[in-house]
């Protein structure tokens, strides 16, 4: 037995139910989050096979992807019907399946409703050292609390519902160490965009990444969730941040977290999870915080990252011919010319939200820039979508919603919104959006939409000037 283990190895080893000779392990799953998009076929599969949900007590269902972010109750307190019949059907399926299989369900008008990856940590459902799955690739998010969390497909959703386990092989481990101190205007989002630029969109494939170093240690839980959320954008199976006092302070007293003596026992266990001195990762990448500027994407892959001070690259300067081809296609789709300063690019839309950046700190960062300012006239659509009803409530208690509304932005109901072009919040074809979401893929925010990924403060700055903007110019 190795004496020194990584955080990943400790969590993995604690969850092995059985190991087969070929190395495949049956891994126990502690937490399963379910939403409306990737679950209907799984529940149908259970029904057809006459199977039940093994551990409904470890499963939590909440709608998020399809929900419109406009008012859900009318002035008489009646539910506003969902206009899109397919979205309505999918939402109704979850509302029906959850009670049928004995699963707790948070409905669309509950203050606890929100994006699954905001709700899990906020409720204390997501805990350090646990295995967490959800039929959504941004499940990696919960790794910010020190949980081994990863996205799964619908067949695996059905497998977890039926058995509370998954058949898995162990991933390789990678340490991404971010040393130094972040400069002014540089946030967790800029850190993870920068990491994605350095590693590339497939740099983490086959790996679980542990984010370490002074920068990560100094981050709040919201910041750590933002970083781990985008682990999938550099290809990693999951992201992890070792749990510490910041983690415990965040979780203490949350509704579904352990209480009293149970809490003390849990914290004692969580403290034992950190990677041991001398443990070896399969790969180590070191990043200096001084190299990270407020960042922005120029292309249609999250690896297409530049500092905001950069210029649109010339594809012919890329060494890899396949990258040249991809960059040419990206620039044609994005309507950009090599050599253009990023700060000269006008945006018509601004989206502040998504499981990456819709927590209270994100909204505070955006509000700090927007306070006393107005959105530019060329910005036609700018929305702020809190990650949950509780985030919305907290933001309103702090008066942040007034700042957004006074600046000319719309203040919405919680949900996935304009991150993925599935609900009514979409960016029109050919228009640009400064977006705090996680993907700039072709058509991601709607057919023909052009996405520039940025931090909440950078999105706020773009709203004010109507162009991609170095937020540092609007500070103080």
């Amino acid at each position: 037995m190795p004496t020194s283990q990584t955080l990943y190895e400790k969590i993995w080893n604690a969850h092995v139910v059985e190991q087969r000779d070929d190395g495949t392990c049956l891994i126990f799953i502690d937490r399963h989050l379910v939403h409306e998009v990737t679950s209907p076929q799984a529940f149908e599969g259970l029904r057809v096979a006459g199977r039940r949900v093994r551990r409904p007590d470890l499963t939590l269902a909440v709608p998020d992807h399809n929900l419109p972010t406009t008012a859900r109750l009318d002035s008489d307190g009646q539910h506003v019907p969902i206009a899109d019949p397919e979205s309505a059907q999918q939402l109704e399926a979850l509302e029906r399946n959850a009670p049928e299989f004995g699963i707790a369900y948070i409905n669309a008008t509950d203050i606890k409703q929100g994006i699954v990856h905001v709700v899990g940590p906020e409720q204390g459902f997501s805990l350090p050292g646990t295995t967490i799955v959800c039929g959504d690739s941004h499940t990696a998010c919960h790794g910010g609390l020190g949980a081994l969390a990863f996205g799964i497909g619908t067949s695996e959703v059905e497998h977890v519902l039926a058995t509370q386990t998954l058949q898995l092989t162990r991933s390789k481990s990678m340490e991404v160490r971010v040393e130094g101190e972040l400069g002014p205007g540089v946030s967790a989002k800029d850190v993870v965009l920068h990491i994605t630029g350095v590693l590339g969109a497939s740099g983490g494939t086959g790996h679980v990444i542990e984010y370490t170093g002074a920068v990560i240690r100094a981050l709040s839980i919201e910041g750590r969730l933002t970083i781990s959320n985008m682990a999938i954008e550099h290809g990693a199976r999951a992201g992890l941040v070792a749990p510490d006092d910041t983690t415990f302070a965040y979780l203490k007293g949350r509704p579904m977290a352990p209480k009293g003596a149970q809490w003390d026992a849990a914290v004692a266990y969580w403290r034992s999870l950190a990677t041991d001195t001398g443990a070896v990762y399969d790969k180590v990448v070191t990043i200096n915080a001084a190299d990270i500027a407020p960042s922005v994407t120029w292309g249609t892959s999250p690896e297409d990252v530049l500092p905001i001070t950069g210029i649109v690259p010339d594809p012919s300067t890329f060494a890899d011919p396949s990258k040249q081809e991809a960059a040419k296609k990206s620039l044609a789709y994005m309507g950009l010319t090599p050599g253009t300063a990023m700060t000269d690019i006008e945006v018509q839309n601004v989206f502040i939200g998504s499981c990456t950046n819709s927590r209270i700190e994100d909204l505070r960062a955006a509000a700090a820039i927007l306070k006393g300012r107005k959105k530019a006239a060329n910005v036609k659509w700018a929305i702020v979508v809190p990650g949950s009803g509780l985030v919305k409530h907290q933001a309103e208690a702090e008066g942040l919603h007034r700042i957004f509304i006074d600046a000319g932005l719309e203040w919405r109901e919680p949900g996935c919104s304009a991150c993925l072009g599935m609900n009514p919040d979409k960016v029109p074809a050919g228009e640009r959006c400064a977006s705090t979401s996680n993907r700039n893929f072709v058509g991601r925010q709607g057919p023909g939409a052009r996405t520039h990924l940025v931090s909440p403060a950078m999105a706020a700055a773009a709203a004010v000037t109507g162009k991609l903007t170095d937020v540092r110019e609007l500070m103080n």
Binding site: V17, E18, D22, T24, L26, F28, V37, T38, P40, Q41, E44, R54, R55, D57, L60, E86, Q90, A93, A104, T130, D136, S137, T139, G151, I152, G153, T154, S155, E156, H159, A162, T163, Q164, T165, Q167, T169, S202, T205, G206, I232, G235, P255, M256, A257, Q262, A265, A266, Y269, S301, E325, A326, K329, L420, M422, R439, F441, V442, G443, R444, P447
Partner: protein, 197 residues
Amino acid sequence: MKPISSVIGRAYPLGLKNIDTDIIIPAAWLKTISRSGLGKGAFQSLREVPGNVFDDPAYADAPILIAGDNFGCGSSREHAAWAMADLGISAVIAPSFSDIFSGNAFKNGLLAIVLPQDAIDRLMEVAQTDSIHIDLETQTVTTPFQDRFAFEIDPFRKHCLINGVDEIGLTLKSSDAISTYETKISASQPWLTPNIA
């Protein structure tokens, strides 16, 4: 799952890298509550371009797709695998796949074959005119021109694919081991059960 041991036929020579799941099947198609009928939305943005390989009669009903690095990156949507299967694709050959996509492909009996870039380059050439033969049993991809490329596959996945194993049924045979694990953990870490109201 239907057993699969070989795929023989023409291949779409797509070749692009970072083909993400939004390209394979856009989100607007994810509102379905069934697994079928998604082929119509498969590769929608690519198919809007005149002269694309998917609508080229030379490759009509090709069962194989050849792509670049990091195929299936992005979302966990299994709809990507369903859409490709609905389009008639039984195998994808690429230098690398996203972890989630290759898992989803496997669960649907869609082969995700990893070969190095030089093999991909050669197969892209062959695909213009001739068929490609993938044999899972011998773990080889061959062409009518004596090309022979060996590929690796996880032995458990290979076994499941060739025998069409129902993975849930297989895991349920371990129900006692799962129960033993649950009993052990609820004693040593009683705080693990959430306070779901």
